[in-house]
Symmetry: C2
Subunit: 561 residues, 2 copies
């Protein structure tokens, strides 16, 4: 194996020289009065600024997605950041718009969510910890609502809420398996009404999805008011509006809704705002940030969680509908290592050349390319290069793309920052200029819920059909009756496979997707279709990263990954 003396992400981040954020925003034509500072290097846009942007013309939105993720890693966030830097290097007015990371996993086994190497957003430690407090505001609103529900029941339960059918869970932005299933309200008549409950990690809260899909404060309040928190004894939904607390929840979220602006190592401005789960939610940064970015830059580089079957599909069907914009192009990130895993190579052997495994894995990439083509969007395949990739492997992949006339570019942004993304940026500008395509949805909102799910399974996953459990069948009927039939669908499926079986790598065919249960997220504005067990509260490992974390006497962080 090649031994190189390389710096860790936190070392690179801490060695980087940041510019005051008021200088960074001046590149976007904004002054110090347009932002509220959170320290010298973080800021939020003011509502006045956002309002004032509406007259500006629209920039072009570029979505970064990937093949189905594997334990080998794809580097989607890293490519997103690096592409923003590369476009800036080419003289374009570019803005990056990505999600905020959750604090919880930082204490466990951290997977960096702020890019990596020389393609990172900064200040890395602060973004990974409390940042500007958005997630804490969401946790507070989530749990204030839970307390208000339990208080309503304790104070007489006028709405006849069925304590066995409360669907609103509490939340914390932590990994804490002991809180997955709890009993609350113990201790006698003055301590509330006993019932089963549970905690989700904050990024799984519907309020996170609501905040990320709202277009302004009034839309936020409207969405919050529609959230279903429970069913009453007549099995009718009880909403936040019924409790009359949508104003209080909106007040708690008034600052969290405003986009955060930071910078990359190369000083490209970046919105880092909102972070809904990519499995039970839609997995994209906020509409507020993306819509502001569209008015501030010519090129907006953003991403969706997981592979194109989940992230891009939800971005294109859910987010663009809520935000009311059309994307311009897609970048599909792939790595030689991950493709080899899709072709059957074991993780331990990934450093060894294996052309055959690579060839076998290409079909996964191919399916995602076909999906993006079906949406009518131009795209570029970005090969995110790792040091262990051999020239033969890279040539094999490049030649395969050329043979099929798939636009392709090599990237090396981890090691080289924006410079390593120039080829990708140039190729991207080329496909955008040449594009004659017309973006179209793969399902219409008028279709019944089950038919929308079937369209996704057939057109995006390449499956044969969808099968609904008895419970799901009953829910389909209920949901139409409650007037929720017009909502888009948010699939909760394993990210590892195009099918609902995480073992089926590559490009499985002729499979059926099994929908076990539906979850109405009426505030977020989608119906979640669960196709398996979805973990909404992670646990900590035997040796938590928390044991390595520290801070020196001046406040400098240590042990963050």
């Amino acid at each position: 194996m090649l031994q190189i003396d390389i710096k860790s992400d936190i070392e690179i981040a801490q060695d980087a020289k940041l510019k005051p954020i008021k200088k960074i925003v001046s590149k976007l034509g904004l002054s110090e009065d347009d932002i509220e500072l959170y320290g010298k290097y973080k800021a939020k846009l003011t509502y006045e600024t956002i309002e004032g942007l509406k007259k500006n013309k629209d920039g072009k939105v570029i979505l970064v997605t990937s093949i189905n993720p594997t334990p080998a890693g794809e580097g989607k966030s890293t490519v997103t950041v690096g592409l923003g830097d590369a476009l800036t290097k080419l003289g374009k007015k570019a803005l990056i718009a990505i999600r905020e990371p959750s604090l919880g996993p930082t204490m466990g086994i951290k997977g960096g969510a702020t890019g990596g190497g020389y393609a990172q957003v900064l200040p890395m430690e602060e973004i990974n910890l409390h940042f500007t407090g958005d997630f804490h505001a969401i946790t507070t609103a989530n749990n204030a609502l839970a307390a208000l529900i339990d208080n309503h029941i304790h104070q007489g339960n006028e709405m006849q809420i069925d304590t066995r059918r409360i669907v609103w869970k509490r939340s914390l932005d932590l990994n804490d398996r002991a809180l997955r299933q709890v009993v609350v309200g113990l201790g006698g008549p003055s301590q509330g009404v006993p019932r089963e409950d549970g905690f989700d990690i904050t990024v799984a809260s519907e309020i996170m999805a609501v905040l990320c899909l709202a277009t302004d404060l009034l839309d936020l309040k409207r969405r919050l008011s529609q959230m279903v928190v429970a069913y009453n004894l007549h099995k009718e939904p009880v909403t936040v509006k019924d409790l009359g607390v949508e104003g209080a929840l909106t007040l708690l979220l008034k600052d969290a809704l405003r986009p955060n602006i930071v910078q990359t190592i190369e000083h490209t401005p970046a919105f880092v705002h909102g972070g809904p789960f990519a499995n039970i939610a839609h997995g994209c940064n906020s509409v507020m940030a993306t819509n502001a970015a569209i008015k501030l830059a010519d090129y907006i580089v953003t991403e969706g969680g997981f592979g194109a079957d989940l992230g891009a599909e939800k971005f294109l069907h859910i987010k663009t509908r809520a935000a009311n914009f059309k994307p311009e192009a897609v970048v599909i990130v792939a790595t030689i290592r991950a493709l080899k895993m899709h072709g059957g190579q074991k993780k331990a052997d990934l450093h060894m050349e294996n052309i055959k495994a690579l060839q076998g894995g290409l079909q996964n990439l191919q399916k995602h390319i076909e999906t993006i083509q079906a949406f009518g969007l131009p795209y570029v395949v970005a090969i995110n290069r790792f040091v262990s990739d051999t020239n033969e492997e890279v040539m094999e992949l490049m030649n395969w793309c050329k043979k099929h006339e798939y636009p392709v570019a090599l990237t090396d942004v981890w090691a080289k920052g924006g410079e390593g993304g120039i080829e990708l940026a140039e190729k991207l500008l080329e496909v955008i200029n040449k594009s004659e395509g017309q973006f179209n949805y793969l399902y219409s909102l008028d279709l019944p819920i089950d038919e929308k799910i079937r369209r996704i399974v057939q057109k995006v996953y390449g499956g044969k059909d969808v099968e609904f459990s008895g419970k799901a069948m009953k829910q389909l009927a209920d949901f139409e009756r409650f007037g929720w039939g017009q909502l888009p669908v948010c699939m909760a499926k394993t990210q590892y496979s195009l099918s609902d079986d995480p073992q089926q790598l590559g490009r499985p065919e002729n499979f059926t997707i099994h929908v076990r249960e539906l979850k109405p997220k009426i505030g977020a504005g989608f119906i979640v279709a669960l196709t398996g067990d979805v973990m909404t509260m992670p646990g900590l490992p035997k040796k938590p990263a928390a044991n390595l974390m520290d801070v020196d006497e001046c406040g400098k962080a240590k042990g963050l990954f």
Copy 2:
């Protein structure tokens, strides 16, 4: 009754014209580089700035305390803010240092914690909601620790923690009675180990007390490492240090430890930082803020929670020892209304003149004056005037003070701001100049824990003796054995009476205080003595304030009290 068209606290606050906080700190000799902005009107000191202050000379600390509180209200925070404004009006370099309010009660029935009327700190809505995120950081650290404890047990429980003897509770900054007693870890072997648990409101977390007593980041880490979280099967204490996560907790708190600076309506600078419960903790703002204030101003006006029996006693015995300063003088706030309640008048009749009830209630004030005299400190009685007070009542009180040679001043800061506190400020400067007293503690740390408690009961409460339950007796022995005997005591007693019976108003005598149980707060550095039931997680009322809260489309808060 007198009918006056008066504005509410939030209306007065929102009508006030704030100055940029960078202008406010310039009065203290600080530049924009000495602070980190959180928006235009809130800031935190940087660690470099705090370090640089050490060479400055010390200002004089003035503690504002009161008689035993009654439902009639005393207005201690309001007098604190108004006195700071008044000293400024007299040309003194003054700084206010008070606690941050808890968000939880805002959703229930709000008791303003940022002063009132024209003696408020601003921006009121933000200070009452998320402010600079300090409490969220404490909640996160508190619950990260809980998750790490449960994870340790789940992963094999190497330290043999007794799951029946985990004393570390989870916390939320909300009023939520349903979380007082819970069972966690349900759902089978992959969901943790089932056990009884509970949530406290964040201000009751030991981490809040630790943060408020720490003198710097290293002291914070030292204190965190000493916190007792559980006992093992051999009944020996298990600490944060044993878990090895004091670095991670300190990292989570690195910004929360830095003092927040805001302004009053009259633009006097004010530190608003930290907010430990005044019953099971010591109830004062942070040592970091007070110590920085001492180096930045000539007069520092601060307060302790509840009456002088709790707030002043803990401020003088616990906080001044941790912070290593000597206070200069004390202001004892009293209202005619509250004194009449201590003299037997009912709350509904407080608007009616009642000289006899007033005379009867004066003994409560007298006891607190005697206590402050025993500490060797000069003082002024501040009569916080209400519109319903009659001239005869006011004269009666003034004459009584003059007869006993108690320095006294009328204040009207709610209606008049600093102008209404001039008489108090002048009287205060006079007693400070004339003072020949020598501040002394009423107990020495060398005394055994039970004897320290006895001294407080006899010298501060005016009681006869103290009685310990069997459990408390056993704990006294254990605590000495664990090496905790040298710590000061933090009394958890009803705030309404000098005794442990909330019905005993005025000046009860010959009573015995009953200590039911002790709680070791080794990180905070004190032993809590519980003399009755202490509520550490409030509930919401039948009609929560949350139902009235709202925000307009520009982010302006409505319905906050």
